[in-house]
């Protein structure tokens, strides 16, 4: 839910763009891991492989926007998990969803 990433067409991606998600080939193998900075040559190689859309880090999102969104996510999760806080598994599930919503890679 915290959207610091956005999808762009491969032809709109410029060198220096940072990948928000790994790029996978047709068999699910990783071509490039998340966090990689794209260069001219990696962009060319992706085009050759027929990759047409990639998920990149959106640099137009400010830290303040992110903090506000994080706060909203926290509040919604607190609401969904407002009962049964003494249940170990409810607490564990909350912990996992919180990690996921904060962008922890799987």
């Amino acid at each position: 839910m915290i959207h610091r990433c956005c999808a762009v067409g491969i032809d709109d991606a410029v060198p220096g763009t940072v990948l928000a998600e790994p790029i996978l080939d047709a068999h699910g193998g990783a071509l490039l891991p998340a966090g990689s900075t794209l260069t001219n040559s990696t962009l060319q190689s992706l085009r050759r492989r027929g990759i047409d859309r990639i998920m990149v880090v959106n640099r137009h999102v400010s830290e303040a926007d992110l903090a506000a969104e994080r706060e909203q996510v926290q509040q919604r999760l607190a609401k969904l998990f407002r009962k049964h806080a003494d249940n170990d598994k409810n607490r564990l599930l909350l912990q996992y969803v919180t990690a996921y919503r904060s962008g922890e890679p799987s």
Binding site: R76, H84, N87, K89, L93, Y100
Partner: protein, 281 residues
């Protein structure tokens, strides 16, 4: 309290639109792929809308198939008979039990939550080496009793929803308090009426009370999938609530954090797309 008797509700189930013959036929042939695949392809082909939905789903992220399919035969060959069959069941049930007239019930939220549960149940079943297609159907239908209750007794069900809002409790607690009956029991009766396999009936009946269920069973899978779907907020209802999770069910499936994170990601990617395709007229 405006108690409903199960006998009365079961009687009303007989008045519900029947499932298409193809779904009932196939449900009883779920494990006989050879005869089933041809029959399935023939029956789907007779229904234009079903054919279109099946192909759109087969080509969506929901299956993530490597190549595009253009015929039902190809879809069955690539995705597998049970996969396509589960999908046809889903499309049929959702088509028949949506928006039954004027009431305050939030059908889109209901089906989003149900489909999210189905997708999670499928992922958990794969991990637990259980039957993923059965898990998908059981997950999709786990709350189906709510639709029976709301169509049979809309004003009583309105009281259930009001009670839940006032007490801030789970739906099943509100149903017990107002109706002295719950959607799990009613859902089981409907699944029985539709002659779904006993394992699915059992999972629908016990998804809120999985404590006595065998380790790794369909009941445990649907229980955890349902809680996960609430946690991921698929229904998006303002006062939704993650129900209490059974430690026995959770532990019996041996799911770790890495599994959950991957499941969250996959389920979010697949559920909305599948919802749009299945609910399209």
């Amino acid at each position: 309290m405006s108690a409903l008797s199960i006998a009365e509700v079961v009687k009303s189930i007989r008045d519900l639109p029947p499932l298409p013959a193809v779904v009932v036929d196939l449900m009883n042939n779920l494990n006989r792929e050879e005869t089933g695949a041809r029959l399935l392809a023939e029956k789907i082909a007779q229904d234009q809308a079903l054919t279109a939905k099946t192909l759109r789903l087969a080509n969506s992220s929901f299956y993530g198939m490597q190549r595009k399919v253009s015929t039902i035969q190809q879809a069955i060959a690539i995705a597998g008979f049970n996969n396509i069959h589960a999908l046809v069941t889903a499309a049929s049930v959702m088509g028949r039990l949506s928006d039954a007239g004027e009431n305050a019930f939030d059908y889109p939220a209901f089906w989003r939550h149900s489909l999210g549960t189905a997708v999670c149940a499928r992922a958990i079943a794969r991990h637990a080496r259980a039957n993923p297609d059965q898990a998908f159907i059981a997950g999709l239908l786990h709350d189906i009793g709510r639709l029976v209750l709301v169509s049979h007794a809309p004003s009583s069900y309105k009281q259930v929803l009001a009670y839940r809002a006032a007490e801030d409790c789970t739906i099943i607690e509100a149903e017990h308090a107002v109706l002295d009956l719950d959607h799990a029991r009613v859902g089981k009766a409907l699944a029985e009426h539709w002659r779904f396999p006993p394992a699915i009936q059992h999972a629908i009946q016990n998804h809120h009370a999985p404590a006595g269920a065998a380790a790794g069973s369909l009941v445990a899978i649907v229980h955890i999938a349902g809680a996960t779907a609430h946690a991921l907020d698929f229904g998006g209802e303002e006062d939704d609530l993650v129900p209490p999770i059974s430690a026995t069910a959770w532990d019996s499936l041996k799911l770790d954090k890495a599994f959950f994170l991957q499941m969250f990601r996959d389920a979010e990617a697949q559920t909305e797309e599948a919802y749009r395709i299945l609910m399209a007229v």
